[in-house]
């Protein structure tokens, strides 16, 4: 039974790649279109019937591990410092008045729109450059590392960069960026692009192992250059990975304090940098801080929701192969 299953899997895999090996012909696409339409109809029927309720309920129950801390966060964000207590009842109680004054003040203290703008520029630029550069490198290394020792070495060289503690790089980088006149936002973006390279290359090249080589060979035989094949075939197929990389990279850059702090030395504020004002040496205004964190949370969650859609619509490319 077990062997059979594995065999089946491999057969399925082979089928998929064989299909792509065949020269693309108009007829085939028409036929496939029809098949897909039928499948779609069938899928619609079955999707309606088979909502997996036990799993849904379980997931909703599991959500309490997220909702409960989130509830506490929201409550604290609305309360005044004088409403803070050390009792369980106190932390769970609703604020005396529902007022947005904390949010307003938090926005003022952090110079919200300005800091948000800087954070957005840094994050979006980092994500865009990362997707462009890292996917290319991930592609090359994903395809070559098994065949060529040199590329395998490059692969491990890049991946190992993941384990360099930032603290050791910090001082040398401060000096280096200032010598190169990169002690500004551009420098921060370049550094992020380098810092996230190991993780993203790992993700991209890992993803590529599930994408058959035959897919690009077809285009290559047609006379497209490697580069064009990459752009027109491989890059779109990696869409779910682009979305994943975008989320992970954006998340890391969005919340990071140290890099902009030491590289820009306070000349420009990002949101997390501005949020440091809520903590002084001998005290913290948790209420304002929490309000501010909730505000900073919204853009990145929105970004995540958009990217999630991309991951899902990427099923296509995965299934087409």
């Amino acid at each position: 039974m077990e062997n059979k299953d594995v065999k089946k899997t491999q057969e399925a895999k082979n089928n998929v790649s064989e299909n792509t090996n065949e020269k693309a012909e108009q007829d085939m696409y028409k036929e496939m279109k029809k098949r897909i339409r039928n499948e779609k109809r069938a899928a619609r029927k079955s999707a309606n019937k088979q909502v997996n309720w036990p799993v849904t309920v379980l997931l909703i129950l599991g959500l309490s591990t997220v909702i409960f801390p989130l509830y506490m966060t929201v409550m604290i964000a609305f309360k005044q410092p004088s409403e803070m207590t050390n009792s369980i009842k106190g932390i769970l109680s609703l604020p005396k008045t529902w007022s947005l004054s904390n949010f307003r003040e938090a926005m003022e203290v952090t110079d919200f729109w300005n800091s948000l703008g800087n954070s957005l520029i840094i994050t979006l630029a980092t994500v865009a450059i990362s997707i462009l550069l890292h996917s290319m490198l991930g592609y090359v290394l994903g395809r070559m590392r098994a065949k060529n020792k040199g590329y395998k070495l490059v692969y491990f060289y890049i991946i190992s960069g993941m384990f360099v503690p930032f603290a050791i790089l910090m001082m040398p980088l401060v000096k280096q960026t200032s010598l190169l006149h990169l002690d500004n936002m551009l420098g921060v973006i370049i550094l992020y692009t380098v810092f996230y390279m190991p993780m993203n290359v790992l993700l991209y090249s890992g993803y590529l192992t599930n994408i058959p080589l035959a897919l690009e060979e077809a285009a290559y035989v047609d006379g497209a250059t490697t580069f064009k094949t990459y752009w027109s075939i491989v890059f779109p197929v990696m869409k779910p990975m682009h979305a994943t990389v975008a989320i992970l990279t954006a998340l890391g850059t969005w919340n990071d304090v140290m890099t902009p702090l030491v590289i820009m030395s306070g000349s420009k504020n990002t949101l997390p940098l501005a949020q440091l004002s809520f903590q002084t040496q001998f005290g913290a205004n948790y209420n304002l801080a929490f309000a501010s964190y909730l505000l900073a949370l919204l853009p990145i969650v929105l970004f995540y929701v958009i990217c999630q859609k991309q991951i899902l619509s990427g099923v296509v490319s995965g299934a087409v192969k």
Partner: protein, 317 residues
């Protein structure tokens, strides 16, 4: 959801078809084209150079500082191998290695099991899919200050109250040098699950539906379908997640600062915490550079072993 996927699948096919047609119609001019190898070199060299410039070069400087008593600024003296000799006799550093690796190992297992289950659930045929996915993502976004405060509260007030109800002593985990690491582990896992789930979900997208259909014909459902069909296919994502988990947990820092500041009784000092706190805020930049170099070497050795292991498994399947 399914419907939409299929729809865009059609679009993609159409586009592919069109392109082929247009290329056949316009005859190509003969031109010199870069072969595959050259293109690959052209992509690799500049990017690797960038990486070298902003990662390896400063690292080499850091390695240099590990032979000095540099404090991060000002002048310094060369001290030879003193920092390394100190490191191997430093009880505190030794304890931090033990703590960090124990934490990383347990947190990696917990995180992967839970996030894989979560990914399967969220990828299944469930209601409120987007909302659920959205909420499960939140832990990853909350800043360290919030997470630290909330979980300190939970561990200091709420958990002991519950344990008292159940007849326990009602002592906070964070106050016990035996259990504080478990509290840290829980928070680390809580935050990391979101990210690992995303990666597993995108991995699950590469599993073609027909694999399941083929499996279903053979009667493979539930656990056996997962074990023999799904899991082998998402194995690359499993190894990605293992590496990323190890990376995140071995370099744990924020959670420590936010929750225990290394205590109680120095039982939760992680390696990164020591490197940062003593190297940057303190005046031990040289010594902690040596620590960072050692840490780096240890992790690289471990991950090379780990990766060659998982690669072998991938090849076997």
């Amino acid at each position: 959801m399914e419907e939409k996927n299929l729809e865009s699948m059609e679009e993609n096919k159409d586009m592919l078809a069109e392109e082929h047609v247009s290329e056949e119609e316009t005859p190509k001019k003969p031109r010199r084209r870069l072969d595959r190898k050259q293109t690959f070199m052209l992509i690799t060299i500049p990017i690797v150079f960038l990486f070298f410039l902003f990662n390896t070069l400063p690292l080499l400087q850091g390695v240099m500082y590990s032979f000095t008593n540099f404090r991060g600024y000002g002048d310094f003296d060369w001290v030879g191998l003193r920092n390394y000799a100190d490191l191997f006799t430093d009880v505190r550093a030794g304890k931090s290695y033990l703590f960090t690796f124990r934490l990383a190992l347990v947190a990696t297992i917990v995180t992967n099991v839970l996030s894989l289950a979560l990914a399967l659930g969220l990828n299944g045929k469930i209601k409120f899919k987007s909302t659920l996915r959205g909420f499960y993502f939140v832990p990853n976004v909350l800043g360290a200050l919030v997470v630290g405060y909330i979980f300190s509260y939970i561990f200091t007030y709420i958990v002991p109250a519950f344990s008292k109800l159940l007849g326990g002593e009602g002592v906070s985990m964070l106050a016990s040098s035996k259990w504080a690491w478990v509290a840290i582990m829980i928070v680390c896992a809580w935050q990391a699950i979101a990210m690992n789930t995303i990666i597993y979900i995108s991995g699950l997208q590469t599993v073609p539906e027909d694999v399941y259909e083929a499996g279903a014909i053979d009667g493979a459902t539930g656990w056996s379908s997962f074990k023999h069909l799904t899991f082998p296919l998402i194995l690359p994502f499993f190894s990605i997640n293992l590496v990323l988990c190890m990376k995140n947990f071995l370099m744990v820092f924020d959670q420590i600062v936010a929750m225990t500041s290394g205590g109680p009784a120095q039982s939760t000092e992680s390696i990164s915490y020591l490197i940062y706190k003593n190297g940057m805020s303190g005046g031990q930049f040289g010594f902690q550079s040596a620590n960072a170099v050692l840490f780096f070497v240890v992790i690289v050795v471990i991950s090379v072993m780990q990766m060659s292991f998982t690669n072998k498994r991938e090849e076997q399947l």
